[in-house]
């Protein structure tokens, strides 16, 4: 079981920049056809300052956190995890070239099925290089303990 003493643990604050090339690759990998996500001039024609980050891309930036030490601290074994839930609350758009700061903490840890499964809830507050609140992310990871 994952020890509940880790509730409230803060992960190191980190920053990641969304690159236009990475956004186009992501759009291609999900079969995106809307030119707003593929072509910078189409994005500008639609009134965007650049290529927008598609709705789930903040998760990809969050995933690039340089150290997975927090997982080791909690005793998480990668081969035993499943993604349970994911949600985004959006406050403003983010675009290619923006540097986004992720402030993440472990919001909750609980068990189900007599301890066979542990649930780890993670929350992240995302701000841009101007300090503006971009979004809040919430992830639930399910750990198979046996």
């Amino acid at each position: 079981m994952i020890d509940k003493k880790h509730i409230g643990m803060k992960l190191p604050v980190y920053k990641a920049t969304a690159e236009a090339g990475q956004l186009r690759f992501f759009a291609k990998s999900i079969g995106e056809t809307n030119p707003v996500y593929l072509d910078e001039s189409a994005a500008r024609d639609a009134g965007h300052p650049g290529l927008p980050l598609p709705p789930t891309f903040l998760f990809s930036l969050e995933f690039q956190i340089p150290s997975n030490a927090w997982r080791e601290t909690l005793g998480i074994v990668t081969s035993r995890i499943l993604h349970g839930e994911e949600s985004f609350d959006y406050h403003r758009m983010a675009y290619a070239g923006d540097t986004l700061q992720f402030e993440t903490h472990i919001a909750d840890i609980y068990d189900k099925k007599d301890g066979a499964l542990s649930f780890v809830e993670r929350k992240s507050r995302v701000t841009n290089q101007r300090g503006e609140h971009v979004a809040d992310l919430r992830s639930i990871l399910v750990h198979k303990n046996a």
């Binding site: 999900i30 079969g31 598609p54 789930t56 995933f63 949600s87 985004f88 959006y90 758009m93």
Partner: protein, 138 residues
């Protein structure tokens, strides 16, 4: 763009569905690279078998990205206020995902008209794989 305007949306309305081609190993390899999620369970058959799975399977976030496409083909992303899902079943290789959504509630927040959408993905057998909801401004 031929996207229908959601401004007149009412409860019960369905979004134009999004049907995807079958999931292949190439789909997963590309998505692993593009999304930054390199978890081997999605790209390495040997690793997947050691973890007790018959084969690699799709990233949950791939299906969520497909649901994102369902939303942004219907409404400008600048109108998206929230988007959340529960991953209820595994999407395996060969699964053909269809994303659907419908308006379940209409309400107002700080003078802004919004609708809540129930969204989901199903495979070709009609099995629900992801369920969730989204809130968009009209």
């Amino acid at each position: 763009m031929s996207t229908p305007s959601p401004t007149t949306a009412t409860v019960g309305d369905a979004l134009p569905p999004l049907a995807l081609p079958p999931i292949t190993r190439t789909t997963l390899a590309l998505f692993a690279g593009a999304s930054g999620d390199h978890n081997q369970i999605h790209i390495d058959l040997d690793y997947a078998r050691k973890a007790g799975m018959p084969d690699v399977f799709a990233h949950g976030m791939l299906s969520m990205a497909y649901l994102g496409r369902l939303l942004t083909q219907w409404v400008d992303q600048r109108k998206l206020r929230s988007f959340g899902v529960r991953f209820t079943g595994i999407t395996h290789l060969g699964h053909q995902i269809t994303c659907t959504g419908r308006v379940v509630e209409k309400f107002e927040v700080n003078g802004e008209q919004r609708v809540k959408l129930a969204i989901e993905t199903r495979n070709q057998y009609g099995e629900t794989r992801i369920v969730g909801d989204a809130v968009v401004a009209l």
